[in-house]
């Protein structure tokens, strides 16, 4: 084992026993138990998934503006879904369903937590690995199996399911309702496996955070990234178990003949369906009890990364660190009691709607606290406008825009109008889709030097940022207006709807599709930069190129197999000690003691 020099930043450390690196390729890179390798595996899965999902969204956009046009290649790939290359409405729905499912589960749920969390949580808290490394490996490979099951749905007879990413019954529960059968089964199976993988992962994250922190690293000295990974794991632990139950029941409805979600008296194509006594509303309750926490599972890590990066590049401590922590906890808690706001139109007692609405509005309070604290963090700082910083500022912008439309939707009377229109599509894409992805861009560029020992091309990153930032607003901004027409979502074509024609929906759609194509092109620029930088980027020998404070910046890049090579630093202060008065540098790392920071003058800081 190579001897590794302890960084001179580290004032004191604890010796722990070292972990030898596995030798063979398989144990090192495929069935690795190293959280860093697993983190990169998750990231690779997410990158693969995001490009598939993006391709599907392109098909969706093309179908909306050119419903009759033929795409010959598509005709060859999907002779039934797109005969002669012209997409059928059912095929449109299938693409839409798969787009949503892949993006929500395989991208937004895997990369922020399984990817970045796996890689950096143990390092930021001073641990050699996760608490259960083998379980960690199992989580990743189950996620992989789940992804394969989902992709397989494209290729079975009847093709991919059409019931939307929310899998609403009866469409999803009654095979007779759609010509395809097995694709939907694969969809449910994929979700069920995904639930198990996420549960195992969540358990691992919580135990790691509680049990493996370095000496001196109190909970309230943890970087906000760790806090958000921790709270995300708690949400996952509580939410995925319920979705798992719902998935099992749906599978039984489809294959065993039970009727949990299928009401009696259903007639499909003049045929009475042999089911009785179930309720589609039950699925909605179970799904959204998971679904609303899920949207926070997607966004919380992005919030953590944003807080972390804003502070680092504004050279200022996080404004209201504790308020940030309590806001995350409050959002996590409230996230479990608002699921009914997705069901205002499904039929619920006005009293329940009222309660759900009030609770939903309450989430605005911690969300606003976070927003103001982000602004407060930047206020008066010596801001360094690097590309991770730009993406973090972009995150704040998107979070505000998307959050405000959420407040509209949270009111039952207004939601009656907006439900199932493009307004909702705009809301959740800005806040969940794009904001979370901005968090990932920020994190990826920020941590890239640590993961690969090289820098990404900053100029390309900035071009990519501006194209994407303008692009996503050009795509989702007009959708608010479409929603006000009101333009229903999930319709394959609008040419026969005359009021939409009259209001110019077609032109807007054309504009959106053009913006989408440009934005998609910009993503290839990023992919190019990513791959090029991994192999040919400017080498970065400095372990701390951003002058950041947390523990990952004390070790070499990429880090050794057991992170701290058996010498775990002690922690003396909070994670965001920037520009302290009376110091030589404008930052103090967590492992610097007061003597290192202030010379001999004793002072206290941190929590």
């Amino acid at each position: 084992m190579t001897e590794v020099q302890v960084s001179e930043e580290v004032a004191e450390y604890t010796e722990v026993h070292r972990h030898p690196e596995p030798k063979s390729f398989i144990w090192k890179y495929i069935f690795s138990v190293d959280h860093k390798v697993i983190g990169i595996q998750y990231l690779m899965l997410a990158v693969a998934a995001v490009f598939v999902g993006m391709f599907l969204s392109l098909l969706v956009r093309l179908r909306l503006v050119w419903p009759e046009e033929s795409i010959p290649l598509l005709g060859q790939l999907f002779p039934i879904g797109a005969p002669d290359g012209v997409m059928t409405p059912e095929f449109y729905l299938a693409m839409l369903t798969m787009h949503g499912t892949i993006m929500v589960f395989m991208v937004l749920t895997t990369a922020p937590q399984g990817g970045f969390g796996n890689y950096f949580l143990p390092i930021q808290i001073g641990a050699a690995d996760m608490a259960f490394p083998r379980l960690n490996m199992l989580s990743f490979w189950s996620t992989f199996v789940s992804f394969m099951l989902l992709l397989a749905a494209f290729f079975v007879e009847g093709g991919a399911p059409w019931s939307g990413w929310t899998g609403y019954p009866p469409l999803s529960a009654v095979p007779e309702a759609t010509v395809q059968g097995f694709g939907q089964d694969l969809w449910v199976a994929s979700i069920a496996v995904f639930c198990i993988a996420s549960l195992l992962g969540a358990l691992n994250f919580i135990v790691t955070t509680l049990d493996l922190r370095a000496k001196g690293l109190t909970m309230f000295r943890m970087p906000l990234t760790c806090w958000t990974w921790f709270v995300t794991a708690i949400l996952g632990l509580l939410a995925f178990g319920v979705l798992l139950a719902a998935g099992v029941l749906l599978l039984m409805d489809r294959n065993v003949g039970t009727s949990f979600f299928v009401p009696g008296g259903l007639v499909i194509s003049d045929k009475q369906i042999d089911h009785s006594g179930g309720s589609p509303i039950l699925w909605q309750h179970l799904f959204w009890f998971f679904g609303h926490p899920e949207v926070y599972i997607a966004i919380l890590p992005g919030m953590g990364v944003t807080s972390h990066i804003l502070s680092t590049f504004a050279r200022k401590t996080v404004f209201g660190y504790k308020a940030m922590v309590y806001a995350v906890l409050a959002i996590g808690f409230l996230g479990f009691v608002v699921w009914g706001h997705h069901m205002f139109v499904s039929g619920m007692s006005p009293y329940s709607a009222f309660v759900f609405s009030i609770l939903t509005m309450c989430i605005g309070v911690p969300s606003a606290i976070k927003t103001f604290n982000w602004i407060g963090t930047m206020w008066g700082g010596k801001i360094r406008f690097t590309s991770p910083m730009l993406f973090s500022i972009g995150f704040v912008s998107l979070f505000v825009t998307g959050g405000i439309s959420g407040i509209f939707l949270g009111q039952p009377t207004i939601d009656l109008f907006f439900h199932d229109t493009y307004f909702v599509v705009a809301h959740f894409h800005l806040i969940m889709g794009v904001a979370a992805i901005f968090g990932m861009f920020a994190g990826l560029i920020f941590w890239f030097p640590k993961m690969f020992g090289r820098m990404m091309d900053e100029r390309l990153n900035k071009i990519h940022f501006w194209m994407t930032f303008v692009g996503v607003y050009a795509i989702f901004g007009p959708m608010h207006y479409l929603g006000m027409m009101p333009h229903p979502r999930r319709y394959a074509e609008i040419t026969s709807v005359d009021y939409l024609e009259a209001m110019g929906a077609a032109d807007l759609h054309l504009f959106i599709t053009a913006a989408a194509i440009l934005t998609i092109l910009a993503q290839f620029l990023f992919l190019f930069n990513l791959i090029k930088s991994i192999f040919k980027g400017k080498e970065c020998r400095d372990p701390n190129p951003w002058e950041a404070t947390t523990l990952e910046w004390t070790i070499s890049s990429p880090p050794p197999h057991d992170n701290f090579a058996g010498k775990v630093p002690h922690v003396y202060r909070g994670a965001y000690d920037f520009s302290l008065p009376g110091t030589k540098r404008d930052f103090a790392m967590q492992c610097n003691n007061d003597e290192a920071v202030f010379g001999s003058r004793p002072a206290s800081s941190g929590d």
Partner: protein, 210 residues
């Protein structure tokens, strides 16, 4: 407060460099598993309540051959919790052979429960024609919820028996610690506890004692 206590209080447990509340990884992990599994079972019981409220429930239902049989099953499972307590206590006192003996008794009780439950299932299906999708005594929702929920519980018991077997063998060989026995105990008591919700909700609320 004694001096030992004072020293411990001075070292806050959430400080890092130690595990909070002195709970090790495995035990904490098991607790978390129990929390998430509780939510899975709760979701199923909510589904049960939904289906029950929406249908004409076939009550009183006799089960097979009668509710007395199911009560015996319940007693067997309860007994297994008691033997599990003995196993954990013996392990903590270092009485390895005794602990292993109690572990096997626990596994045996679990197995008996599975056999009795299987008997009940078999007759309900085979003799009386009640399946997840049909029920000669009324709404098929009854069969659906009954088999789904008791099935998932039975799956937990079977897994638990296997788990106890592994623990017993490895603990006897000295590869596992008393703590591992305790963690297995947590799981086993949890599975029992679930039954303590299933039995009243699915059985007792659907039957009459005469």
């Amino acid at each position: 407060m004694s001096e030992g206590h004072a020293a411990m209080a001075a070292e806050p447990t959430w400080q890092g460099g130690g595990t909070p509340l002195a709970v090790g990884h495995k035990k904490l992990g098991m607790w978390l598993f129990i929390v998430s599994d509780t939510l899975t079972f709760s979701a199923l019981l909510v589904a049960y309540s939904f289906v029950r409220a929406a249908n004409d429930w076939p009550t009183p239902f006799h089960f097979y051959p009668s509710i007395v049989f199911s009560t015996v099953m319940t007693l067997v499972l309860l007994t297994s919790s008691l033997t599990m307590v003995y196993a954990v206590s013996a392990a903590h006192h270092g009485a390895r052979r005794k602990a292993v003996k109690w572990l096997w008794w626990t596994a045996l009780c679990g197995l008996t429960f599975v056999v009795l439950h299987g008997y009940e299932w078999f007759h309900l299906m085979h003799d009386e024609g009640m399946y997840p999708w049909t029920n000669p005594y009324g709404t098929p929702g009854f069969g659906a919820t009954f088999f789904t929920i008791t099935g998932l519980h039975m799956f937990h018991v079977i897994t638990g028996v296997a788990y106890l077997g592994i623990i017993a063998v490895r603990y006897r060989r000295g590869r596992y610690l008393p703590e591992d026995v305790e963690v297995a105990g947590l799981y086993w008591h949890f599975v029992d506890l679930v039954w303590m919700f299933v039995f009243p909700m699915i059985y007792l609320l659907s039957t009459s004692v005469d």
